[in-house]
Symmetry: D2
Subunit: 320 residues, 4 copies
């Protein structure tokens, strides 16, 4: 059983990272294990910016967005020298295992440390994109989806007042999950995701017909990885007489107090990750799938591409 572990958050922040870090820390402390908090991700590890955590250090954070540990991008970690230094900085403090909370890229960075030094690593999927292979949930995706439907509610007011087409661009470079669930929930007429082809001409014809039948407004949700919202907007504006506007939601999607789901699951995953790491497990990511906490091989998680749930794709078509 390990005696001392460290936690970091890395990459883009997501709501629930605090809840996850809190669960890791409290579980470890409960088990009598020392816990270090590393500030600003791999960058802080290289800068030796870390400190021991007590239980109260993670008090009053479960409800906060962002991450109390900070996060940063770190180019030096891409280099063997960077990782060597990072490993040294862990070893010389007696830290025996590391829990990394972050997205694809951050988990990949952790995988290298595990591979090259055999250093015990567990990962937690902290990303609003819900794009990690082997699980149907990542920490923060539920909050982000709810942030989007709040925006849709506001856009619907003004779209309906003006009889407009509104194109809403949301996050998701490789994965259309956010666009898909937010679009279904927001009653969007069209949802464009990177995983599926679409034909702007067909969409334009179809929405023109809908206006002719008396439709008061049309909402199109676009994942950034599928198309640029501005380009979709310009295309429709050019080929129809309908007033069209674009809204790019941007970084607002990353913030905000986490939802119940994101807090509860982050807590469950954090507890399991801490227990596993302490007991000597390594090279796994803990995720949530089909109603259960699951552990996924870290190498597989970062080297496979997740597919969109076909049920959701189907639903988007049937209900509109």
């Amino acid at each position: 059983m390990l005696k001392s572990i460290a936690i970091m958050t890395s990459g883009g922040d997501s709501p629930g990272m605090n809840a996850a870090a809190r669960a890791v820390a409290r579980t470890a402390l409960y088990e009598g294990v020392k816990v270090w908090g590393i500030n600003d991700g791999y960058h802080g590890l290289l800068e030796e910016d870390l400190r021991e955590l007590e239980s109260k250090d993670v008090g009053d954070i479960i409800q906060r967005g962002g991450t109390f540990l900070g996060t940063a991008r770190c180019k030096r970690w891409q280099t063997p020298e960077g990782r060597r230094l990072g490993h040294e900085n862990l070893i010389k403090r007696g830290i025996e295992g590391l829990c990394v909370i972050g997205g694809d890229g951050s988990l990949r960075g952790a995988q290298l440390l595990s591979e090259e030094y055999g250093f015990p690593i567990v990962g937690l999927p902290g990303t609003i994109d819900n794009d990690v292979w082997g699980m149907d949930y990542t920490i923060g995706c539920d909050t982000a989806a709810n942030t989007i439907i709040d925006a849709i509610n506001k856009l619907r007011d003004t779209a309906s007042a003006h009889r407009r087409v509104i194109v809403l661009e949301v996050m998701g470079r490789n994965c259309g999950w956010l666009a898909l669930v937010a679009g279904i929930s927001g009653g969007a007429e069209y949802i464009l995701v990177p995983e599926e082809e679409f034909d702007l001409e067909e969409i334009t014809n179809s929405l023109t017909a809908a206006y002719d039948r008396g439709k008061r407004y049309i909402l199109i949700v676009v994942a950034e990885g599928a198309a640029s919202g501005q380009e979709v907007c310009d295309y429709i504006a050019k080929h129809t007489d309908i007033e069209t506007r674009v809204s790019v939601l941007g970084h607002i999607q990353r913030g905000g107090a986490p939802t119940v789901i994101d807090r509860v699951r982050a807590s469950q995953l954090g507890e399991q990750a801490a227990l596993a790491l302490i007991s000597g497990l390594s090279g796994v990511v803990f995720g949530y799938s089909k109603g259960h906490v699951v552990s996924v091989n870290l190498y597989d998680a970062v080297n496979n591409k997740k597919q969109l749930d076909p049920e959701y794709l189907h639903l988007a078509k049937v209900l509109f």
Copy 2:
């Protein structure tokens, strides 16, 4: 294949009922089946207060709390005469199947109609309590849980300012699910649920010790079925010097725009229920369990008692 079906919402309303009814209606219409909307539950069926629905009748409702069909309690439905009249009112319009969206009591009412007349029935679990056997999700429970944590966020501000104990009573007569997930998410120090015994003296001693260690405030979440919030508050106020306040959240928990989860799952369940009913299935409730839509025998669903997830009970203890 059935040619004409009806939908009703019954019992206490829950956020997402509209999304479910919309999915039932749109799926049936898509399949070329006639759809009737019954107003105000069984009461409306007896009063012949129903109408055919078109696609646009369920437009612009996915984001709304409550139910556009209305709901009501109905004592006459408890009588054989009531049900005979209800059956007649369905038959004489050529309606061949009924989809009932509601909680325990409402599903029981549907079960009787199915049993006594062999009338094709499918149920959808619409209740914030998440207390229907055979599934780990009911429509509306996610929105209600998020409403509670919003309240907790506000209560925390004032509790912390005053160094108070706050006792928050939430819904859940037979089932502590709402109290449990909201309590975990809200960082509550104590969570009282009907499924588990608790000792107020022990809690009082423990919270006094926490105050002595410098704790700034304590939050206790109580399911109405476990204890009266007022009584818990009075007990603590009587046995300690700590300022204690109670808040009874009440009917606010039933309202509000549904969350993403409640909209998406209500839509999935509604689609499956409609397809099943149309194809001739009867006597089942569609629920969501372990990441999948499941169908549960209607008789079993209303005659068994759901247990709380032991993982959640465990989590509540470890993290505080």
Copy 3:
């Protein structure tokens, strides 16, 4: 006393337009005056798309964003022929006065009708920009400002996690009011408004110094009329090493359920406008200033430029 009046909403929609229209209608009906609702602004008037309103037609709308009457831009109204036709369409229905709810441009259109045909007109300032001369409040500005600080709350989470500069572009082509109050409320370090010069070089130097002192993030709020958010972001990114991101809030600012202030003031203004119009007054806009409903000459309102409150400009400097 007039016997029949009409209401329209015109130009960009703003939260509280419904509350205002409701108050106009209910006040007039209470006084025994017939009320017409014109759909889609001047466009609807030219298309004869209007109907008589009853009290219940304006029920259940006080809490909704957008406008139940719809709104639209209308080029034909800019022409004398357009206005002649509009006047005819009013006259031939016996409508003796018109209440226009909208921003600068819409009120200007109303002013022309008043000037050219002596047709009784009262205006209500419906715009989130708070840029109408002669008053310190326009309907919708409070909701929009609160929408912006909600966004700032989310952006702060992620900015703080990443030690970033966030540039937030908000509405306000000619007027920095929204940027100024949202910036003060959101604790922004810099607020750029069209009414005041600023020096990007100076700002960049100052924020670099703040980072060197240990500041975790910087928020800059930019009114669209002062600068492009993207350009400000690019300038800082180019001249510093600090990670910088831009967020353009866009049309979300126009939507959403109105706040208490916007509902109450819209109601007060609507009542006064209806009473004035009915009693024969014309050529005035009703606004809110220094704690009172005020009436401003319509010509003056649309031909003068409002100044920013110097107290706010001062406050923004002192508190940061």
Copy 4:
């Protein structure tokens, strides 16, 4: 000019207290004046629980509900001995003036210190009740009113689904301001305030008639000082067949992130209070009235009773 001042928050907390304390502290520091923060109100002063504040101590709090200084009730302050000790604790640290942020009772406590010891005092009205004489705004009232209309939005969903009467009890022991503006904004049919008589029989008859005309639900907002919500509910349930429910909003009304109005006005008032105190003024409360910061004699403020705005009372009658 004073060289050292102290700030405290006292009595019930209200949203915006943090913004006010931040403005007092930053203004004083900007003027080169030392600032002490007293924890937990008069209690902390007697316990010598205070510390010097720097600018960063009030960073990142403008958006938070509650008060970072804490607050408490304090019986000893009611005694001459308590106030003598409090005065000593200020004097021996060289503190020359005190800014108290709180409601009626807290300002009264400050007035005694000013009267008995000639100690320089300025007050800021921090209370959600908006019941301080001489001003039409107190810090926190706008946030509380918006919290109430959010609750009304949720209650409306469920009331409408069930065709119910909902009785909502809100805060306001002596003052109906909150009930009145929230009732107007929420479209309440009846609003009961302590300042006006009402007749439950009349209300019951009138609402029965409304149901008979087809009304789907009725909302009654009751200030706690006017009647008990439970009693109003029971009366109606007893005398009609209409399903009636009560909701007591409770302490939720005190919490939450402050609105734009509460942040901006608290900031303005805080700045003015600090400047006045530093320059030697004493015995005044700074409030906001008719669009301006006003200073009110402290004795007058706590010895006169505020009246409700008759325009609001009128509005509540006309629009429903």
